[in-house]
Amino acid sequence: MCEACPIIDWEHELTTVRSFVATRVDSAMTDHIVWFDRYDRDLHKGFVGGKNASLGEMMMAELPVPPGFAVTTNAYESIWRDGDLVDDINGLLRGIDHDDHAANIETSRRIRARMEAVPVPDEVAADITEAYEALCRHCEIDDVAVAVRSSATAEDLPDASFAGQQDTYLWIRSADEVIHHVRRCWSSLFTDRAIAYRHSMGYLHHSIAMSVGVQKMVDPVAAGVAFTLNPTNGDRSQVAIDAAWGLGEAVVSGEVTPDNFLVDKVLREVVKREISDKHVEYRLTPDGVVKKLPVEEERRTQPSVTDEDLVGVAILARKAEKHYGCPQDVEWAIDRHLPAGENVVMLQSRPETVWSQKDVKAISRGNGDPMSSIVSTLLSPLHDKNKN
């Protein structure tokens, strides 16, 4: 039994439902929906979660993020107006024995099933439906495929990404399916691992709310990640790119050894390429589902990205780095359907953590006298400097 765990105080929270005012009056902006291309940090940040905020920031920086919208935490909180749901979930949480792993998995399953069974309030469903249809019109596709991603928000917690489990559902079509998967994202706050993590950290379950991102799916020829520095020596003039065929999942999950490239972000040249054998890829099949497929023989050892597109990725990554003011770790994709030059899209950008945490020391050694600098250049073996 755990008295600390229950979702207490939801009611108190709900009596003070927060709201924000959209920057522009627009029918598509509601308390439940924030469009990425109209994201305003000051107004929306607390309502869209970390991931969505980052997408909004990228849009603001004119980084080519696929179009989409955030379903705000207001929408999530609306489900807790249902007193029966609150009671049921609190009951289930109270019954948890944190040492019984198998039982917890079952409890999590029951909490999630209970949450997903509750109908989404009508006004929320209507807003999501309207937004999805607007996205379809915008993309000129009848039932545009979207990615539905959880985007947890926990303003006071330093590690929101761990505190809330992050679910992603790809290739979702139709408004009903979107609503269904939004609900699944909400419930992903209660995976067994998320529950256990919050418990071990002493976080209240309701200290975290869930926003959901709905974004046009890219259909990538190739995708991967990019670091805006050379991870082997910290050189910030280079971008390290990992890439493989199809969706980025193959790279992120480590199922294939990706092609590895180094691109000079200033000169915009590919300076190093290591092409690996990429035996599988995640692809959208004609029936609209994503499958892991074997890569045909001749394509396996081909570079998954052209030099031109690698430079495109590097330019984007640099743009993100400039915008955020620190080295970034960027997810990107090359869309199959967009024309060359517009086909490199960004999915995600996060601060790079390894090199960024090192102290930045001046290399000019404090001595501004040009002559003594020249003398030391002539005296010190240039060879050593060149070695790196």
Partner: protein
């Protein structure tokens, strides 16, 4: 090959049948017993970058004078703390160099001397450079004014009426000595700024390498390089003349560059434009200026005419051949801003600004001296050497106009004495009989030396190459020496060199050894050469990539390829040995590798 040293200069077996070859060069440049211990203890590399072919006695002059001038600036003028001069020898007709370091115990004492002397140049660079241009142009004028015409039957009356008391014979001997002095002066001037310029560049270079460990050399070069550079002017003038030919409706006259007929008013107008550009801009050599056989555009107009023909074809095809100055400038600014922005601290940004600023102050000299000395001055110098050779042949002292090339410059003094004294006496000269067989033999020796393949290096290499100018001027690094040593190992189909100009290309190789063969290049081929010269610039838009045996980050090929956006790998050491015309090769100018694919 696992040996970690190169053969001793005393163990090299030269070509057959060249006994007495040492006589072609001053005794002081031969390896020999006098300095054997010293010579055997040193590392010598063949400077094929400047002297890829066997030297004739007169060609050797410029090697000796230039390396002595370089040395003197390091050792005696500026007191470069760790570097004295570069020692030089000729072995079987080829130039071998050996940088001389300063005794480590004496380096410290030279620092204040260097700081004061070099500091003066850095502080007053622009003014000194302005003055340098005046000095060099004045030297050119003086060389131009030298009269090496035949001695007259009778002195001009004015010699008598002006009461001069001295005549043409005295003038000729004196002019020849003045000529030699002016050449030495020219080469002193050549190095007046060069090493200091490189030192300032090197300082910025080292800073960039520290800030960005993976920054390519050319990234640094691009920040420093000038946009409007005198060295590019000859090529720009050709474009203007091509456009003028099109505008005047006489484009077809250039279809056969060897037979260009410029009759009529339009032709006259075009020729006037040519004459305007010709001096100085077409004092432009198709080689590197160091050899008598280098062809100068002014003297061989079929070379620039062929380039003009190619430009005309581009203009007629609707291509824009102009150099996009604004774009180049904007790109340079972008690169500088990006690197600057990526630096970690404001302190570094301040240091970056200072070092880049100084590098840019010194760089116009580094870029332009090549036009003023190697091209312009040397064009005039070679014209004068040939003028004197023709005079000596005309008056029967030599059998052929170019016999003079097979005399050492001091031996020419003897011939001139023979000429002068017997002109004075009005008696037969002995030169033809004395020099005729010697020159015939020297021609034979030179031919055999030319066919010989000299070793890349001699003696024991230092563990690490730290001598800044060896790295900077010759692009010789610890790695490249190791490459030379281990050249028998590794992949027969792969070469590595300097990543001189980025990008990758695959195509058919064409080997070009002689500047005059440049015209054989077909559109889309890859140029493979021991070294290239700036005057080859017009072929760079035609080629897909460029590979050279020799050359560093600032070599001509590197600079011109970057300018034209053509991938280039320089300093491969062996490209012309391993690659054959017709081979399919892949050039990666970003990583510095060349692969023979078929």
């Amino acid at each position: 090959m696992a040996d970690n040293r190169f053969p001793s200069p005393f163990k090299i077996e030269g070509p057959q049948g060249v006994d007495g070859w040492e006589e072609l060069y001053p005794y002081s440049v031969s390896f020999g017993e006098a300095r054997r211990e010293y010579e055997e203890s040193r590392f010598w590399f063949w400077d094929s970058m400047h002297w890829g072919k066997a030297l004739t006695p007169w060609d050797s002059t410029f090697m000796e004078l230039s390396i002595a001038s370089l040395s003197q600036m390091n050792s005696r003028h500026y007191r470069i703390p760790p570097a004295d001069g570069v020692d030089f020898r000729v072995l079987y007709g080829y130039a071998y160099l050996s940088p001389v370091g300063v005794d480590p115990e004496k380096i410290e004492a030279r620092v204040p001397q260097f700081t004061e002397r070099a500091g003066h140049y850095f502080a007053n660079w622009d003014q000194l450079y302005e003055n340098w241009l005046v000095k060099v142009k004045d030297t050119i004028d003086q060389i131009e004014s030298i009269d090496f015409g035949p001695l007259p039957e009778m002195e001009d009356l004015s010699v008598v009426t002006d009461g001069l008391g001295i005549g043409s014979g005295y003038e000729l001997l004196s002019e020849y000595n003045r000529f030699k002095d002016l050449i030495l002066k020219t080469w002193n001037y050549h190095f007046e700024f060069l090493n200091l310029g490189y030192a300032a560049y090197l300082d910025f270079f080292g800073f960039c390498k520290e800030a960005f460990p993976s920054i390519p050399d050319l990234g640094i070069a691009k920040m420093v390089a000038g946009v409007e550079v005198d060295l590019f002017r000859p090529n720009e003038e050709l474009k203007v003349l091509a456009q003028k030919a099109v505008d005047l409706g006489i484009a077809r006259a250039f279809d056969d560059p060897a037979n260009v007929d410029l009759a009529g008013d339009a032709g006259a107008e075009w020729q006037a434009a040519w004459a305007e550009a010709e001096d100085p801009w077409f004092n432009f050599t198709s080689g590197n200026g160091f050899y008598h056989f280098d062809k100068i555009w002014r003297d061989y107009p079929e070379i620039p005419y062929a380039f003009i023909r190619d430009y005309i074809a581009k203009i007629e095809a609707g291509d824009d051949i102009s150099r996009p100055i604004e774009e180049i400038r904007a790109e340079r600014d972008r690169i500088v801003d990006e690197y600057r922005d990526l630096l970690g601290t404001d302190e570094d940004r301040e240091a970056f600004d200072g070092k880049l600023g100084l590098a840019r102050v010194v760089f116009p000299y580094v870029e332009n001296h090549n036009f003023y000395i190697e091209h312009w001055t040397m064009s005039v110098v070679w014209r004068k050497v040939k003028e004197l050779g023709a005079t000596l042949a005309k008056d029967g002292l030599m059998a052929a106009d170019d016999d003079i090339l097979f005399l050492r410059r001091d031996e020419v003094n003897e011939v001139l004495w023979d000429y002068y004294s017997n002109w004075a006496v009005n008696a037969p000269t002995a030169a033809a009989h004395h020099w005729g067989p010697k020159i015939a033999r020297r021609r034979e020796i030179h031919e055999r030396l030319s066919a010989w393949q000299p070793p890349k290096a001699l003696g024991e290499p230092p563990e690490v190459i730290t001598e800044p100018f060896t790295i900077m001027l010759w692009g010789i690094t610890t790695e490249s020496v190791q490459n030379w040593l281990g050249s028998d190992d590794g992949d027969e189909n792969a070469l590595t060199g300097m990543a001189a100009s980025p990008g990758t290309a695959e195509g058919i190789a064409r080997l070009v050894f002689d500047p005059e063969d440049v015209d054989e290049l077909v559109d889309g081929e890859i140029l493979v050469a021991p070294i290239t010269a700036p005057s080859w610039a017009p072929v760079f838009p035609k080629i897909r990539a460029c590979v050279t045996d020799i050359g560093g980050m600032m070599s001509h090929a590197a600079i011109v390829c970057r300018e034209y956006g053509v991938p280039a790998v320089t300093g491969t050491g062996f490209a012309t040995n391993k690659i054959k015309t017709g081979d399919r090769i892949r050039v990666d100018g970003s990583s510095g590798t060349v692969t023979i694919v078929g």
